[in-house]
């Protein structure tokens, strides 16, 4: 027992999902095309346009659909031979509605817990816990038919988490939610990993919304891997600092003075000013080399006698990461890729702006 646990942990630390030239071909469509990707623990975003092969990949990883060629492992178990063992340890939240309207959330989730193999008492306890964690309280005793979309999404998430899996697959969990609901759902997904210690694979066709939630993003298109990269690596190496100051009688244009003074001190400023945001034109974007940059900015502002309105870290959109990288190392499918990323980024921005 102990060895098994140790072994499982080791495997988990290395990789949660591993695919090796995984392909799935239907008579007329190639859903997955030699996909090789390693996914570690944490929250991983799986991005792709509709029909990019996201759902097919999840189906194969659950051991429900055999791959045409290639291999895949989930939690160190081969999907072709250990489908049942995998499904006992992972949770799945489908994209579509899957809730019967005439039962309460509690009854439904208890039943699903038992379907995952939990004994009756444990199923009831875990259901109460899980529903509380996803934010359903008194309403959990009412029939699901009367729930809002946001509450239904929470029930769907609860049934995927109720058996305390090591990994959950969330298929488009923010679909159909309003901006506030989206933010709440994304925060909840983040907590699934940070507080519950469960690794997450979350799919979306919106690149923008995954950047805040995911540690790692995998982009697939036409069933092939487009890019797999870590979001945290990126933000560490290229932090951008946004600084906004007030004007004084002495310095009628505080922003310009500060810009000049900072350049003297050897800080790289981005020429581009932020558009479309409140205070646009008054915000300086500069590259933070490390902790000392903050000190330099603080001292300079103090010397000039300006008021510091804000100094905050800006994170790039994931779309920008991919765009820059592609410009540096062009890939054959570039045109197509950029089109995809652009649409994804635009949708993401559109959502952010609303």
């Amino acid at each position: 027992m102990t060895t098994a646990v140790v072994h499982a942990t080791t495997v988990e630390n290395v990789t949660v999902i591993a695919t090796e030239s995984l392909s799935k071909r239907f008579p007329r469509v190639t859903a997955l095309d030699r996909l090789s990707v390693d996914i570690g623990p944490g929250v991983t975003g799986l991005v792709g346009a509709n029909g990019a092969g996201k759902s097919t990949l999840i189906k194969i990883l659950l051991g429900l659909s055999p791959a045409t060629e290639g291999r895949a492992q989930v939690l160190g178990l081969d999907v072709a031979t250990h489908g049942g063992d995998i499904r006992e340890r992972v949770g799945y939240m489908p994209e579509h509605d899957c809730l019967p309207p005439d039962v309460s959330a509690t009854e439904f989730v208890v039943h699903m817990a038992r379907m995952s193999g939990l004994p009756p008492t444990a199923a009831r306890e875990r259901t109460a816990d899980t529903l509380r964690h996803v934010g359903l309280y008194e309403e959990r005793y009412r029939p699901i038919g009367g729930y809002s979309t946001g509450m239904k999404q929470r029930v769907k998430l609860a049934q995927a988490l109720v058996h305390d899996p090591q990994l959950v697959f969330l298929d488009e969990p923010t679909n159909g939610l309003d901006p506030v609901g989206r933010d709440e759902m994304l925060g909840l997904i983040r907590r699934v990993h940070t507080d519950f210690g469960i690794s997450v694979l979350v799919t979306s066709h919106l690149l923008g919304e995954l950047e805040r939630t995911c540690d790692h993003v995998v982009v697939i298109d036409g069933g092939a891997l487009l890019r797999s990269s870590s979001t945290s690596d990126f933000t560490q190496t290229m932090a951008t600092l946004a600084v906004e100051v007030t004007d004084t009688d002495e310095h009628p244009d505080g922003t310009a003075v500060l810009r000049a003074r900072l350049q003297e001190r050897g800080i790289t400023l981005h020429a581009r000013v932020e558009d479309g945001l409140p205070g646009a034109g008054h915000v300086l974007l500069l590259e933070a080399a490390g902790e000392e940059t903050y000190d330099v900015v603080r001292d300079t502002v103090a010397e000039l006698g300006l008021g510091l309105v804000r100094m905050e870290q800006r994170r790039h959109h994931i779309a920008e990461v991919f765009r820059t990288d592609e410009q540096q190392q062009p890939v054959p499918r570039q045109a197509q890729n950029q089109a995809l990323l652009k649409t994804a980024a635009e949708r993401g921005d559109g959502r952010d702006g609303s």
Binding site: S116, G117, D129
Partner: protein
């Protein structure tokens, strides 16, 4: 949410703990347990247990309608000191077939159409159980529900007959034959009802379709049988019985379980024809299972 624990200085009892996420280290009982759980949930569901009060009404009424006549028969038999029951054990289900049909029509769609219509099926298949487990559990649960419905009045009759001090050996034999007959009937009806219900995801249509399959086939078969009987082609009567579920059961029990046929003129099948009946019944049961397996192959995820 952020405070891990809020403690009031005055009493140790009035503590509010936010214990955070607890992981589950207990047993995971796996596939066989999940299949059993699905079976018991579906069986209970057929009688409205674990469901709303409204959904208990119909099954309970139908159950009462099945058992009350048996109780009356027993009461009369005991009062008038009969030496044999006025109604055979094997005949009871044939007489009350409308009630059985109604029960099946109401509960089969409830059992399978809901999961299909609200697309809950993928949630089952993303768990350890597989297609075969799901179909087997649903099939077994429906058959068990029908068996409870049809065997209960037989138990009433049997207990009554013992109370009236009728011949023990004779009554036990009849009772056993009756049980075998209703077991076969339960399997056959459950299979047919579930297949029809699984093909009509809308519950209302499912109810209508099950009733239609049972009554239209029985109506047509018994009419044609009556015509054949009147026109003197009595040899055709047993063969015609192959085309409706209830006459199939009637034929099997006439041939093998010592029942008197309810066919027009009592022209039930002999042992040879009876074997064909039995084969058809078993083929239909196996066919229903295969059809259900096929039906669920497409709804995986």
């Amino acid at each position: 949410m952020t405070a891990a624990e809020t403690r009031r200085p005055d009493g140790a009892q009035t503590r509010i703990h936010n214990i955070g996420y607890r992981s589950y280290d207990g047993p995971r009982l796996g596939r066989a347990y999940a299949r059993r759980s699905l079976y018991s949930q579906s069986l209970r569901g057929a009688y409205g247990l674990g469901r709303s009060a409204k959904s208990k009404v119909l099954p309970v009424i139908l159950f009462a309608v099945m058992c009350v006549p048996a109780a009356i028969v027993v009461a009369v038999a005991v009062q008038t000191k009969m030496t044999d029951l006025p109604l055979d054990y094997t005949r009871y289900a044939i007489t009350t077939q409308a009630v059985i049909g109604l029960f099946l029509a109401a509960q089969a769609p409830q059992s399978v159409s809901r999961d299909l219509r609200f697309r809950t099926v993928p949630l089952y298949f993303s768990r350890p159980i597989e297609r075969g487990d799901y179909v087997a559990a649903k099939f077994a649960a429906m058959a068990s529900a029908l068996f409870v419905l049809t065997a209960s009045p037989l138990i009433v009759l049997y207990l009554g007959s013992l109370l009236a001090k009728m011949d023990f050996a004779d009554q036990t034999k009849g009772f056993a034959q009756g049980l075998v007959s209703v077991a076969l009937l339960s399997l056959l009806f459950a299979g047919l009802g579930l297949v029809v219900a699984a093909l009509t995801p809308r519950r209302g249509f499912g109810v209508a379709a099950v009733i239609a399959v049972l009554t239209i086939s029985y109506g047509a078969v018994s009419t044609v049988q009556a015509i054949a009987d009147v026109q003197g082609s009595t040899g055709a009567v047993p063969w015609l019985g192959l085309f409706s579920p209830i006459t199939l059961i009637d034929g099997v029990q006439t041939a093998f379980l010592g029942a008197t046929s309810a066919f027009p003129g009592g022209h039930g099948p002999g042992t040879g024809t009876g074997a064909v009946y039995l084969l058809v019944v078993l083929a239909l049961i196996a066919g229903s299972y295969a059809a259900l397996m096929r039906r669920y192959r497409k709804v995986g995820l």
